[in-house]
């Protein structure tokens, strides 16, 4: 059998392949030859074959059949074999396969080999890919080598120990004695790896950290020698002596000095020295300065030193080298919270970085800019940031828009400015604005009461220009639905009011419904807006027509809405004004808008039409507060969520009506309220299949000689309960007990607590408004047990 071809020969051959297919063919042929060679247990050429296999593996071809061969090479006595064997092990074996454990014994032997280069191979392999089991088995050998006087081996043992500790942290203790005089070594290799080892131990264990604090003076001395010593050709890099070691020492000092006054003081001078004396013309000097700055910022340094550090970063920002600017921005981002004022001084340079061509630099500059915005610089900063928003890449727009909204919310100098800023963002980056911004913005707009007319006018004008940006369109339609009356009546004070008719407004909204650019969500907004205008505009017929057309829309969401609104027109017209009236100011919550808004009787997404009870004479803004007042203390939560039934028969109420006072489930009825001629009885029923829900029907009757009109019943329950109030049968309680108003309440009581309820009644009687609050405590036990 001819000798297998040499490695270089193979490489040369494979490189002549002109197509992928040709290459694959060559590789397959060679692999077959290698396989048969392996089968023959050929010791002479095993090394050559494995080397070739490694080359093919690098090209991306499978080489797992060579794994065992690597182990055989490692076990060989020839150095060449061992070298390739260990290399193969590092490339082909991984710790998930049990095969790798077979290496352990070989490595153990090689760690004790007579030739240091063999020992070196073993240490390198163990330190690169040793699994936890291997590390456990061989830690003792590594520890032994850590104490050797041979610096070639000692430095490798130190890094091997680092790997062992990472894999098996419990073994850290056993390396402690060997660290005793590591730092007294003259050899830089040993010093460097020792510092790495000490760093690893200090990072992992607070006890070790405390123990090694005493090394601070020694470390300071070593660093000082490096800086002060003359030219040393062996370690020199562009005029700086062993920058790698300097950087690692600075990093260790950072860890040792953090949170410790004494250590921080001991290193103060050397840090100042390094910061001022290091040559900054090349990357290597800046690398050291960078590490120094990080250390100064992390330890308990005196303010003078901190200012020095920030100024170094400021200078970095002006450096031509992009990499330096990048690390400066990253570091400033870390320190902006703690040293805000110092960083502010470099604000203009940071803002300039927004115009940098590099994506990473732009991103950091943007984040930093937002961190620097405050009440004083908001106008100027916002101008820059909005300009950035206009011109930046799409990947930034969403974050930038959110950042602008947040900053505007915190520091807006005036409501008008705030609205203008929002408008600017919506019109320039409208399609990138996050979905959750829409409800937040709506909430913001409702709360700026005096700006309603201005806002709706600006939004209307924006819609005329462009209906493609969905968040803008959604906010605009919502506002037009709410404040369309202000728009048409030309009430704007902030700017020249525009002349617009009801028909023009409806044209725009209908345009949204039919446009291909509108998403289903947007269409929903538009339809609801049109509906709301039925109470604000006079051209109700047109609105009725639109609504009825969409009753047969193929979009289920739209259809449902249209049908419900249709029902409103046909059967519940008396409720329409109340339902569609102006929204109250929504409770401001720190985070998500929508979930909270439901609680407070207003909802940004009108997917459920709320039955809003007409407020007692006063303005709508206090609606939410009223209900909370109803409850007095904190323990009761209002739930006013009703659904408008689409079917004429509201199953619950009328059925129970038919059966009159018959208690269906054996729970006796009760009188909840009886005052001034108004009597309210409760009847009970258990809802199937959920036994935790009690269904209560109220029967309101009026024994006086005059009707009680505009009758509204509201209820509130303690926090552990949930309440759902369905719509009433009517809002007139006829005089002299000629009929009752019924309404169904469903109460979820998962904790089976005693049922309590507070009720609020409002009605008009003999021309005057009546309001009363009462507590209902006399629920029969069966209703809640």
């Amino acid at each position: 059998m001819p000798a297998p071809i040499r490695l270089r020969e193979l490489i040369r051959t494979i490189r002549t392949a002109r197509t992928q297919a040709e290459e694959r063919e060559m590789i397959q042929k060679e692999c077959a030859a290698i396989r048969s060679s392996f089968r023959e247990e050929d010791n002479t050429y095993r090394c050559r074959n494995v080397a070739k296999l490694l080359y093919m593996h690098m090209l991306g071809y499978p080489a797992h059949f060579g794994q065992l061969e690597c182990l055989k090479l490692i076990a060989s006595q020839k150095f060449t074999d061992k070298r390739i064997g260990y290399l193969g092990a590092m490339l082909l074996l991984d710790e998930r396969q049990d095969v790798h454990l077979l290496m352990t014994n070989c490595i153990k032997n090689d760690l004790n080999h007579s030739t240091q280069y063999v020992q070196g191979l073993a240490l390198c392999t163990l330190g690169c890919m040793g699994s936890s089991e291997m590390c456990r088995d061989l830690a003792g050998e590594v520890e032994k080598l850590l104490k050797t006087s041979n610096s070639y081996l000692r430095k490798k043992a130190a890094l091997c120990a680092v790997h062992v500790i990472r894999k098996v942290p419990e073994l850290m203790e056993m390396f402690l004695p060997a660290t005793k005089n590591l730092l007294s070594e003259k050899n830089h290799g040993v010093l460097h790896t020792s510092v790495v080892l000490l760093t690893e131990m200090c990072e992992r264990s607070p006890d070790m950290l405390a123990h090694f604090r005493k090394l601070v003076p020694q470390l300071v001395r070593i660093l000082k020698n490096l800086i002060m010593s003359g030219y040393s050709p062996e370690h020199d890099v562009s005029g700086i002596s062993d920058p790698f070691l300097q950087v690692r020492i600075l990093r260790l000092l950072r860890i040792l000095g953090k949170g410790d006054d004494d250590s921080s003081e001991a290193m103060n001078d050397i840090l100042a020295q390094v910061a001022t004396n290091t040559e900054t013309s090349k990357n290597v000097g800046n690398a050291i300065l960078y590490e120094t700055v990080l250390t100064i910022m992390d330890i308990k340094s005196e303010s003078g030193l901190r200012v020095l550090a920030i100024n170094i970063l400021g200078r970095f920002l002006l450096n031509n080298d992009k990499n330096i600017r990048y690390v400066a921005l990253t570091s400033l981002l870390k320190t902006v919270q703690t040293d805000h004022n110092a960083v502010q001084r470099h604000r203009s340079t940071i803002v300039d970085c927004l115009k940098d061509l590099d994506v990473s630099i732009k991103r950091r500059a943007m984040e930093l800019s937002f961190a620097l915005v405050n009440g004083n610089n908001i106008r100027g900063m916002m101008k820059e940031l909005l300009y950035f928003l206009d011109s930046c890449d799409p990947e930034f727009k969403a974050d930038c828009a959110s950042g602008v909204f947040l900053a505007a919310e915190k520091y807006a100098p005036s409501k008008r400015w705030h609205i203008d800023t929002i408008m600017r963002v919506l019109t320039t980056a409208g399609s990138y604005v996050r979905d959750d911004s829409v409800p937040n913005l709506i909430q913001l707009i409702t709360n700026s009461v005096e700006m309603h007319a201005y806002t709706v006018q600006r939004l209307y004008k924006a819609l005329l220009d462009d209906i493609s940006q969905q968040p803008l369109v959604q906010v605009a339609s919502w506002c037009i639905g709410e404040y369309g009356d202000l728009l048409v009546s030309g009430q704007c004070e902030e700017e020249e009011p525009i002349q617009v008719t009801e028909d023009e407004v409806l044209d725009v909204l209908e345009g949204l419904l039919v446009s291909n650019l509108s998403t289903p969500v947007t269409r929903g907004y538009a339809l609801t807006a049109i509906m709301k205008l039925s109470t604000r505009f006079t051209s109700v017929n047109r609105i009725k027509k639109v609504v009825s057309i969409y009753g047969s829309s193929i979009d289920v969401e739209l259809q449902q809405r249209a049908v419900e609104y249709n029902a409103l027109f046909k059967k519940y017209d008396h409720m329409r004004p109340a339902l569609l009236e102006r929204m109250p100011i929504m409770e401001k919550t720190a985070s998500n808008g929508p979930t909270e808004i439901v609680q407070t009787n207003g909802e940004a997404e009108p997917s459920v039409v709320e039955a809003k009870h007409p407020p007692p004479v006063t303005q709508p803004t206090n609606q939410a507060n009223d209900l909370l007042d109803l409850l007095g203390g904190n323990d009761v939560v209002p739930v006013i969520q009703t659904t408008v039934p689409t079917k004429p028969a509201s199953a619950g109420g009328e059925l129970l009506d038919l059966l009159g006072d018959l208690s269906l489930s054996g729970i006796p009825p009760m009188t909840a309220y009886n005052k001034n001629g108004l009597k309210i009885d409760f009847t009970f029923e258990r809802a199937n299949p959920n036994p935790n829900i009690a269904v209560i029907t109220i029967h309101a009757s009026n024994s006086t000689e005059a009707d009680m009109t505009d009758f509204v019943f509201q209820a509130a329950v303690p926090k552990t309960f949930q309440l759902q109030l369905l719509s009433p049968s009517s809002n007139v309680v006829p005089t002299l007990n000629q009929g009752t108003v019924t309404q169904v309440i469903r109460v979820l009581n998962p904790q089976k607590q005693q049922l309590r309820m507070r009720i609020k009644l409002t009605y008009t009687h003999k021309g005057s408004a009546v309001q009363d609050l009462a507590e209902v405590n006399n629920f029969p036990p069966q209703s809640w047990q």
Partner: protein, 149 residues
């Protein structure tokens, strides 16, 4: 350091050193994606980028890209120096190194790297010492046995 990759402008891998345990499949995936990302960078961009949760430091020397993945606490600027030192070592060993040297002598490139870094950290900061060790090791195999790969 978690790993170092060397690849050509065409995206061909010339060296891969992994200091974290990953399956072959994962390594291939990472390599493919990272190579694509780095090759897409324009010449004037900075040498650092964030990729997944790692910091990537890369530098191009002639037709080869040297690409390292470092951890959050590692110093990007000194990593550039590490890369540069490795290139210098290769240069000294091969005498004005070029990509072909690394292709045809990839195992030597690994040996040199393994004398410079161990477990992702520098084990020797003196250029002279690293080269001396390689030289001696190269010689020592003559005393053991005779064999040519």
């Amino acid at each position: 350091m978690q790993f170092m990759l060397l690849f050509s402008r065409q995206g061909k891998l010339r060296l891969q050193k992994w200091y974290v345990p990953l399956s072959d499949k994962e390594k291939k995936k990472i390599t493919r994606e990272l190579v694509q990302t780095v090759l897409a960078r324009k010449p004037k961009m900075c040498s650092f980028l964030e990729w997944r949760d790692l910091k990537i430091v890369y530098k191009r020397y002639a037709s080869l890209y040297f690409c390292c993945a470092i951890e959050d606490q590692d110093n990007e600027l000194i990593t550039l120096e590490i890369i540069h030192r490795y290139v210098e070592l290769l240069d000294k060993y091969f005498g004005s190194v070029c990509e072909l040297d690394i292709i045809f002598n990839f195992e030597k490139a690994y040996f040199i790297l393994d004398e410079f870094l161990l477990g992702g950290e520098a084990q020797e900061t003196s250029k002279k010492n690293v080269l001396k060790a390689i030289e001696q090791a190269d010689l020592s195999y003559f005393s053991f046995s005779r064999g040519w790969i």
